[in-house]
């Protein structure tokens, strides 16, 4: 948004503008095809007809990170792949979101203890917005994760100044 970003105080007009901008964003989150392991199959099942992700506006899976808004890290990330995950994250244009799907992306999963080359959670290299539990999570769980992300986007101030804690509030 450039110079308009976080420029205005919160009032009726800016709230409505923010609501409109966020409504547009959350109903058209385009994910990147980033299925790594078993969770990728459940992600494909979400993309298929039975649990349709397209009804949330997120059906256009883009192969390139430069056109995607959302990276659903579906599967185990190990050190070799982690460098590539970081690079792909940096290639995505802002505003960008990350969903860590499944136990492996959240915290290493079943490979937590003896996996010498497994990264214990993808949040060690990129910032994650939503974590989804499960091994693999049901497609409905992924949809719930997506809806949680949509709630997060709904609350985001764009042209309003975000509410920040001031010293006067603590007194």
């Amino acid at each position: 948004m450039g110079i308009l970003e976080e420029a205005f105080e919160e009032n009726v007009l800016t709230t409505r503008v923010d609501w409109l901008l966020n409504w547009a964003k959350l109903n058209s989150i385009w994910p990147m095809t980033f299925g790594l392991a078993c969770c990728a199959i459940e992600m494909m099942a979400v993309g298929a007809a039975h649990h349709d992700i397209d009804r949330f506006g997120a059906g256009a899976f883009r192969a390139t990170p430069r056109q995607a808004d959302l990276m659903i890290v579906a599967g185990t990330v190990n050190f070799k792949m982690g460098e590539r995950v970081k690079r792909l994250y940096e290639q995505m244009p802002s505003p960008k979101y990350v969903i860590a799907m499944g136990a492996c992306a959240t915290g290493g999963g079943p490979y937590f203890k003896y996996g010498y080359t497994v990264m214990k959670g993808v949040d060690r290299i990129i910032p994650v917005d939503v974590y989804i539990a499960g091994c693999p999570p049901r497609p409905e769980a992924l949809l719930e994760g997506l809806m949680t992300l949509q709630d997060k986007i709904r609350r985001t101030p764009v042209i309003r100044k975000p509410a920040r804690l001031q010293p006067a509030d603590l007194a």
Partner: protein, 406 residues
């Protein structure tokens, strides 16, 4: 594959006396332009590599001159984990190598451990349920192969149809063991629990419905003219090449070799099923092109799906009430010994080599993954093909990277 040197980049221009003037008045010069091969990374993040695999392609325009698969992007240390957790605790890890056919992975592991425990009796009902689950999982796995191969080639519809049928199979598996993808159901000694009431009837209904759908999918994609043109005569693997590279499963049968572990080195009751005529083994015949091309391999997988239905029906007739798991203690201690058991996974021969020293934890748990071995053939198969064909070839190997990297 070294980088091209600077000298190869410079174009050279022949002397001016080799030019001529065209009737329109323009001068035409002759130039020798030397091109260099381009090294392109296909993956690790790529829609058509079936997971995280990187293929370093060396291309001369549209022609691929070299291909080098790089693996390890999903290496999850399954074999090291096998040496650190107990026998039963390792079972969920077996689901996760070839996550599309988790029942078969569990079965391979359980059979390998049972080879070390000769006194363990596996009840017949357990064997029958194992066979039904393994074959249903084979159908589910081949459905993904069919759907995603269509997606790679550019056909979007088969993907949705394949996943619709998969939803039904996954719902059936959820009823029996609670999980949709990684089951941990087939355990050492039998299966975990008995079938819920009505499950066997629902499996029979599924078989009837799927048989009609199968013919639809076969005509939709496999007999499709465009699909045939994209896959026939592409990626031909001869019989000698298949033996040399150690290929097994549909890759081997697609090259015309009549070998299926279920029939030729039977485990469970596949031998009896074959003798009763429950299933046949399809092999590639070069119907649309050459024997051993991508179309043959895909056709073998499709026909195998149909034969699985025959097997499931035979098991449904044979199944009788009884216990489903043998007399297995809570904490399993396997007698010392070594055994290698290989079974027919949807992708090839999945073998487990287990070495026990008599304790609660295995000493060596080696997984012989079919996709790891099948992938090696890309180095020799891809040079000389077009770039678009490389996608068709990778798709026809039907690899799952969880298994390639373990």
């Amino acid at each position: 594959m070294t980088s091209p040197t600077e000298a190869e980049h410079k174009p050279s221009i022949r002397p001016a006396d080799e030019s001529r003037t065209l009737p329109s008045g323009e001068r035409e010069f002759f130039m020798d332009v030397a091109t260099s091969d381009l090294e392109v990374n296909m993956g690790p993040q790529h829609p058509a590599t079936h997971g995280v695999m990187r293929v370093l392609l060396r291309t001369d325009g549209e022609l691929v001159t070299g291909a080098q698969p790089h693996l390890g992007y999903l290496h999850r240390c399954a074999e090291k984990i096998g040496e650190n957790v107990e026998w039963l605790q390792y079972l969920p890890y077996t689901d996760r190598y070839d996550y599309l056919s988790a029942m078969n992975n569990n079965l391979s592991y359980s059979l390998a451990v049972e080879a070390l425990m000769p006194e363990l009796e596996i009840p017949r009902r357990g064997t029958m349920i194992r066979m039904i689950c393994a074959e249903m999982n084979r159908i589910a796995s081949h459905l993904v192969a069919f759907g995603t191969y269509g997606l790679d080639i550019g056909a979007f519809t088969p993907f949705f149809y394949a996943f619709r049928e998969r939803e039904w199979i996954q719902a059936l598996f959820e009823k029996i063991c609670g999980a949709r993808l990684t089951y941990s159901y087939i355990r050492i000694g039998g299966v975990f629990n008995d079938t819920p009431p009505g499950w066997l009837q629902e499996v029979a209904d599924f078989c009837d419905v799927f048989e009609e759908k199968w013919q639809e999918y076969y005509d939709l994609l496999i007999e499709n003219h465009i699909f045939v043109q994209r896959t026939a005569n592409v990626g031909v693997i001869s019989e000698e090449m298949a033996y040399d590279f150690g290929l097994t499963g549909p890759m081997l049968r697609g090259s015309g070799v009549d070998f299926d572990l279920r029939r030729d080195m039977p485990y469970l009751e596949y031998g009896q099923a074959y003798d009763a005529g429950a299933f046949r083994v399809p092999i590639g015949t070069g119907e649309k092109g050459t024997v051993g091309d991508c179309w043959d391999r895909t056709q073998v997988r499709m026909v195998e799906m149909k034969e699985c239905l025959g097997l499931v029906r035979w098991c449904l007739e044979q199944i009788e009430p009884g216990p489903v798991i043998g007399d297995v203690p809570k904490v399993i201690k396997v007698p010392p010994g070594e055994a290698y058991v290989g079974i027919e996974n949807p992708r090839g021969e999945l073998g487990h080599y287990m070495h026990s020293d008599g304790g609660k934890i295995a000493t060596r748990c080696r997984v012989r993954a079919p996709s790891f071995v099948n992938l090696a053939v890309l180095e020799d198969l891809m040079p000389g093909t077009l770039l678009a064909d490389s996608v068709a070839i990778i798709g026809s190997t039907d690899i799952v990277i969880g298994e390639t990297d373990r």
